[in-house]
């Protein structure tokens, strides 16, 4: 196993899967401004995907391109965390998922700017500015809706309850992380837990939402061991063109 390749797939697949999920709102969001915000967020994430997967393809050295990795791998080869493949369901869950991810990503990418691998540090420097902008919006919106009407508060609480068991998979540590850490390429994801926790706690307090009292974590996404059934359905849509017309270009 090439640990660096695995690491890069995890970074790229997280933003690819969330980017695609978020783009599913395009044209159907609850308000025009939100539609535009979601589409632009998705666009940033897909742009970041390109940077990660191009590097992953180079490191793998098997002649595959970033497009090949995105459109020709099957669900079990994806390395995104499970939370990001969960269906959008409603607007509340979409925003809560974005916030829980942004709260990690801003700290994580900031740490990666110090990577000994200059390519990773460059990608992190480019992406972190966008992640900060996303966090600003997702945090404000969580608070506005949590501290909104009785109904909006109820929906945001339901979203938090549903996503909570998924939220911390991204900070679990395995052999790939140990190898990256040893080589000075990345910190251990578990190092992000404290700042993430503090940000999530203060945000939920301001939003009048209660963090579930459970330490259970769904896992298997970032290792590729077990994805949810939702990922396959999502890929069926995302990859249909390249699957039906292999090699199509335009």
């Amino acid at each position: 196993m090439n640990a660096l390749f695995e690491f890069l797939l995890r970074q790229g697949d997280n933003v690819l899967v969330l980017g695609h999920r978020t783009s599913e709102w395009c044209g159907t969001a609850p308000a025009l401004e939100e539609d535009i915000a979601l589409a632009n967020t998705a666009l940033d994430l897909i742009g970041q995907t390109k940077l990660w997967l191009e590097y992953a393809a180079e490191v793998e050295g098997e002649g595959r391109s970033a497009n090949d990795l995105a459109f020709l791998r099957d669900a079990y080869d994806f390395r995104n965390v499970l939370m990001l493949e969960t269906p959008n369901e409603d607007y509340g869950r979409t925003l809560m998922r974005q916030f829980l991810f942004d709260a990690f990503q801003v700290h994580w990418l900031t740490a990666l700017t110090d990577s000994k691998d200059s390519r990773i540090s460059e990608i992190a420097m480019k992406s972190v500015k966008e992640a900060q902008y996303h966090l600003e919006r997702s945090r404000d919106t969580i608070i506005a809706l949590g501290d909104g009407t009785e109904l909006s508060n109820k929906k945001m609480q339901a979203a938090l309850d549903y996503l909570w068991p998924y939220a911390r998979e991204i900070m679990l540590v395995d052999d790939v992380d140990e190898a990256m850490h040893k080589d000075g390429i990345a910190p251990l994801p578990s190092e992000i837990l404290a700042p993430w926790d503090a940000l999530v706690k203060s945000t939920m307090r301001d939003a009048y939402l209660t963090i579930p009292d459970s330490n259970f974590v769904h896992k298997g996404g970032r290792t590729g061991q077990r994805h949810t059934e939702h990922l396959g359905h999502m890929l069926a849509t995302m990859q249909v063109l390249q699957r039906s017309y292999p090699g199509a270009t335009w």
Binding site: I36, A37, T41, D44, M125, K126
Partner: protein, 156 residues
Amino acid sequence: MVTVDMPQVGDIWSWLEAVPDPEIPVISVVDLGVVRDVAWQDDKLQITITPTYSGCPAMSVIAMDIETELLKRGINKLEIKTRIAPVWTTDWLSEKGLAKLEEYGIAPPQAAGEPERCPNCKSSSVEKISQFGSTPCKAQWRCKECLEPFDYFKCI
């Protein structure tokens, strides 16, 4: 022996000043700060560009427009490279570009993170409609004086 006509780098920069940004055509790709370097490598011209946002869909159009403009000027050995570091920032917009943005109706970026005034009536009484706008680099604001909505070039 073949003499290759290699225009001065300074001339090439001034030609690129005539290549408009595809999404905000009042400013050039040079004003926008996406052209980072122009250099001759033997008889091949190398242009280095950088994306504003990592997902900016205009990048491939910008590369094509640069190529078309330089072909017209007789440069046919050309390579356009993309690099992401150092990271593009709104600080790289030229003074001329900032003035043109406002003239066009787009409030230029401010370090404070908010537009200084309405590009239409110049009132400083403005409010945010959305953090995002018609392109990745813009947000939507509204003037509380003349009531016109306007684009604000996000500061990053």
